[in-house]
């Protein structure tokens, strides 16, 4: 994969080094926090999953009992129950309200059901079996309760699933892309800075060497000059050539006999 451990393209100076270091600290802290969030969300997820499984089972049994009650009512009140009920539908008396709950930073929807208006008790046309019909209605209302709870569990489940996926994606991105890139940038900048320092050092040393040599050369030149001056003086005094004077001074050790 290209760009797996590239570095950022910036100028390698001391200030940018500070900036990138700060970013690395931020990325590390963010990574730890996101990991914690992902763990908390996963815990919630598993809890909800367990609840969903148990609620679905209970829903199965409740639906069975309510359809049983319906069969009873049909048996008692005759087959016309269906038509009567169908005719009598106007506006729903059972509705659901949705709230958002905040769980570990994720907004989960939750449904709760409530009755609005009064339940239509005017099932005109039902001559017999009123009690059975009421029992059936009660059973179905209970079933609705369970179903609403199940629905809210399911929606929170799906939302959590989504949130966990995004958080995990971010964790992985930080861990595998952002942090290595920043670390590589830091080592690159440090390398460049070291190299610049070495260059500087080297240049300094070279200049020092230069200067030293200059000084030595000057010293040597000055000594030469002084010697020649002495030689001139001797040759003037003695009336000998410069060369002879030179030889006098340099070759033999200083003879005590020679008096100036």
């Amino acid at each position: 994969m290209s760009g797996q451990s590239q570095r950022l393209n910036i100028v390698p100076t001391v200030t940018t080094l500070g900036v990138v270091k700060a970013r690395l600290v931020g990325a590390t802290r963010g990574h730890a926090l996101l990991k914690k969030k992902s763990d908390a969300l996963t815990v919630q997820f598993r809890q909800i999953l367990k609840k969903i499984v148990s609620t679905k089972e209970s829903m199965g049994t409740i639906m069975k009992s309510s359809s049983f009650a319906l069969t009873e009512a049909k048996y008692v009140a005759g087959e016309n129950v269906k038509h009567v009920v169908l005719e009598n539908v106007h506006s729903a008396s059972l509705k659901v309200r949705s709230r958002t709950e905040n769980v570990a930073g994720v907004k989960l929807p939750k449904f709760e059901y409530f009755t609005e208006g009064e339940t239509k008790n005017d099932l005109t046309g039902l001559a017999r079996g009123g009690q059975q019909v009421q029992a059936c209605r009660g059973a179905y209302v209970k079933a609705i309760e369970v179903l609403v709870e199940l629905a809210s569990l399911q929606t929170s489940f799906l939302t959590l699933d989504d949130a966990i996926k995004t958080t995990n994606r971010r964790v992985n991105a930080l861990e595998n892309v952002v942090k290595p890139r920043l670390e590589n940038t830091i080592s690159y900048i440090k390398g460049e800075l070291d190299e610049l320092e070495r260059e500087d050092f080297f240049r300094l040393k070279k200049i020092q060497g230069f200067k030293k040599r200059e000084i030595e050369r000057q010293l040597a030149a000055a000594k030469q000059f002084a010697e020649e001056k002495v030689v001139e003086k001797v040759s003037l005094q003695k009336g000998i050539s410069i060369n002879a004077a030179h030889n006098l001074l340099t070759t033999a050790a200083k003879d005590e006999d020679i008096i100036f």
Partner: protein, 130 residues
């Protein structure tokens, strides 16, 4: 980025139903049915004469409607439009599969639980109910 999904915090949302006649009768008895001014209902009775296309259209309509929060669908009806149900992944409205009189609840076909099963390949849902 956190709230990409718009969860309507509304005060009254309906429960829609797509099921066989008996189940619908029971729920209508409980008071879940709603017929609005334009004679649009929030339930669909599925019998031997309803076509798959009708069911699909109603399902799409229910999920697109703003005021429906839950859609109850019989499991054997859901099996008919399994593709549509499985590809639906919005949290609101919630799709709930309910058993019917002749078809008891079967968790292996439930769209939500089947998604969970592939999440936990080691511990499947069926193994939890031991």
């Amino acid at each position: 980025m956190a709230n990409r999904v718009q969860i309507p915090g509304r005060n009254s949302a309906l429960i829609a139903m797509i099921a066989d006649e008996d189940t619908i009768t029971g729920f209508l008895l409980a008071g879940v049915g709603n017929v609005d001014l334009r004679r649009k209902t929030n339930y669909l009775i599925v019998d031997s004469k309803t076509t798959v296309k009708q069911i699909e259209d109603t399902f799409k309509e229910f999920t697109a409607r703003e005021d429906i929060a839950i859609v109850l669908i019989s499991q054997y009806v859901a099996n008919m439009i399994r593709l549509l149900v499985d590809s639906y992944n919005k949290p609101v409205p919630a799709i709930l599969e309910i058993p019917s009189k002749d078809h008891p609840y079967d968790p292996t076909h439930d769209s939500v639980l089947s998604r969970v099963k592939y999440l936990f390949s080691a511990e499947s849902v069926a193994s939890e109910r031991r």
